[in-house]
């Protein structure tokens, strides 16, 4: 049982590595205004599967997406706490998102079609 669970953990971790970046890009591409970490985390809160992991995992991914030029950010003071960093998707980010979502859809469909032969 413990072994099975460890396998599941490992699988979830590997699965989440790319999907979290994809979902973050998609959330920011769909947002009308720049969002900061907490708001982004809240938008993902209802999600299921590997995306339901701890929200602290989102911040490093945001930072790295920014480092790769897919997001841009600016800082604004806030009333409730220290200055907040707002993120916005860049042109390069939108292009990457298009490629990634095409890759995702193709992968999802293929995986589904292979899995459909397996009894639940």
């Amino acid at each position: 049982m413990g072994d099975e669970e460890a396998q599941l953990r490992k699988f979830q971790k590997e699965l989440s590595a790319g999907t979290v970046s994809l979902v973050l890009l998609a959330v920011l591409a769909g947002a009308d205004e720049p969002l900061y970490g907490y708001l982004i985390a809240k938008r993902l809160e209802g999600l299921d599967g590997v995306l339901s992991g701890k929200q602290s995992a989102l911040y490093p991914v945001l930072r790295n997406l920014e480092g790769a030029g897919l997001l841009e950010s600016f800082v604004e003071p806030s009333m409730t706490g220290p200055p907040r960093r707002y993120y916005r998707i860049t042109g390069a980010g939108r292009e990457v998102l298009r490629d990634w979502s095409a890759a995702w859809r193709a992968t999802r469909d293929s995986v589904d079609s292979v899995l459909s032969g397996i009894p639940q």
């Binding site: 970490g37 809160e45 701890k54 929200q55 602290s56 911040y59 490093p60 930072r63 220290p82 907040r84």
Partner: protein, 319 residues
């Protein structure tokens, strides 16, 4: 959700998404202290970022649920954001995986001696380091001037009351400059530096926070770094310009074949172009080797300087 649970984080059965956690911290500073302890052996720059993110999330959550005590909010957050030790694990892993997934792949390792010598030209950090050497003359002058003027002006005016706010303003400005320099160092030299300022501890009284600016060793090592940047920057700039100019000049020696009267390589009054033209290709070869050796030197200086910056600029977070 009940707001009755406000003592030390043993959430009641109804108190939120993670009732199985016990011994959670009761206040935000305690949460951050635990997170810091859990990350104790990690990269200091990463610790600073992790603390910043956690505090951002916790304070936003507090603001979103007015009227709830910190202990209740932390108990809830432990389910969504993670308890300190979980967050620590996530940051350790994320730093590795995400970096590996998103960074452009490193150039292939070359094994031959020649390959390693000339392969340096394919490493982007080489040019970053070279550019940093050229840039550091400018930034070094700015940092040095800012530090010397700010320090002497505010110390000198301390006898009048205006010196006090001036000194505080100056100390705050060095923190900002240190963050800026950290970004430059990370971009150009590839050394991990903090990407967020250290959170000021909002719960502590003003006077205590001001006092900590003086007792925090990094305030003073940052100033030392800024003062050092003038001689270092001057040296880096001179080394880079001299070696690059010599290298380019020597590489062009073969042009002497084609423009014998206009393009001369002279050593005092010995004119290589007219007296020993057979040596021109050798000088060109020497120039090219010198250029690549300069790239190696730039890379080495970049590593050394990154190490220096990390030790003098990255603050031990005081939480």
């Amino acid at each position: 959700m009940s707001a009755l649970v406000n003592e030390h984080a043993t959430p009641g059965p109804q108190a939120g998404p993670s009732p199985d956690k016990s011994g959670l911290p009761a206040t935000i500073p305690e949460y951050l202290a635990e997170l810091r302890a859990a990350l104790a052996d990690a990269d200091p720059a990463m610790i600073q970022d992790a603390l910043y993110d956690a505090e951002d999330y916790l304070r936003s959550e507090m603001a979103a649920q007015p009227g709830k005590s910190e202990a209740v909010v932390i108990a809830e957050v432990a389910g969504s954001y993670g308890a300190p030790d979980e967050v620590a694990d996530i940051y350790r892993q994320a730093e590795v995986t995400v970096n590996r997934a998103l960074r452009t792949p490193a150039p292939p390792k070359r094994t031959s001696w020649v390959g390693r010598f000339f392969g340096i030209a394919a490493d982007p950090h080489t040019y970053g380091a070279l550019f940093y050497m050229l840039l550091s003359l400018g930034t070094g002058i700015v940092y040095f001037t800012w530090t010397v003027v700010g320090l002497s002006l505010s110390l000198g005016l301390l006898i009048l009351i205006v010196g006090v706010p001036l000194l505080l303003l100056f100390l705050a400005s060095t923190r900002l400059l240190s963050l800026v320099e950290g970004r430059i160092v990370e971009t150009l030299l590839g050394v991990r530096m903090p990407r967020r300022p250290l959170y000021s501890q909002r719960d502590k009284p003003w006077l205590k926070r001001i006092g900590e600016m003086f007792t925090d060793g990094r305030t003073w090592t940052t100033m030392l770094y800024f003062l050092l940047m003038l001689p270092l920057g001057t040296a880096y700039f001179s080394i880079a310009v001299t070696l690059l100019a010599t290298g380019v000049g020597l590489s062009a020696a073969v042009l002497g074949f084609f423009f014998p009267d206009r393009f001369n390589i002279m050593f005092v009054d010995w004119n290589v172009t007219t007296d020993a033209p057979w040596m021109l290709p050798l000088w060109t070869a020497a120039g090219i080797v010198l250029l690549f050796a300069t790239l190696h030197l730039a890379r080495a200086i970049g590593r050394l300087h990154g190490w220096l910056a990390k030790h003098l600029l990255v603050r031990d977070p005081v939480v």
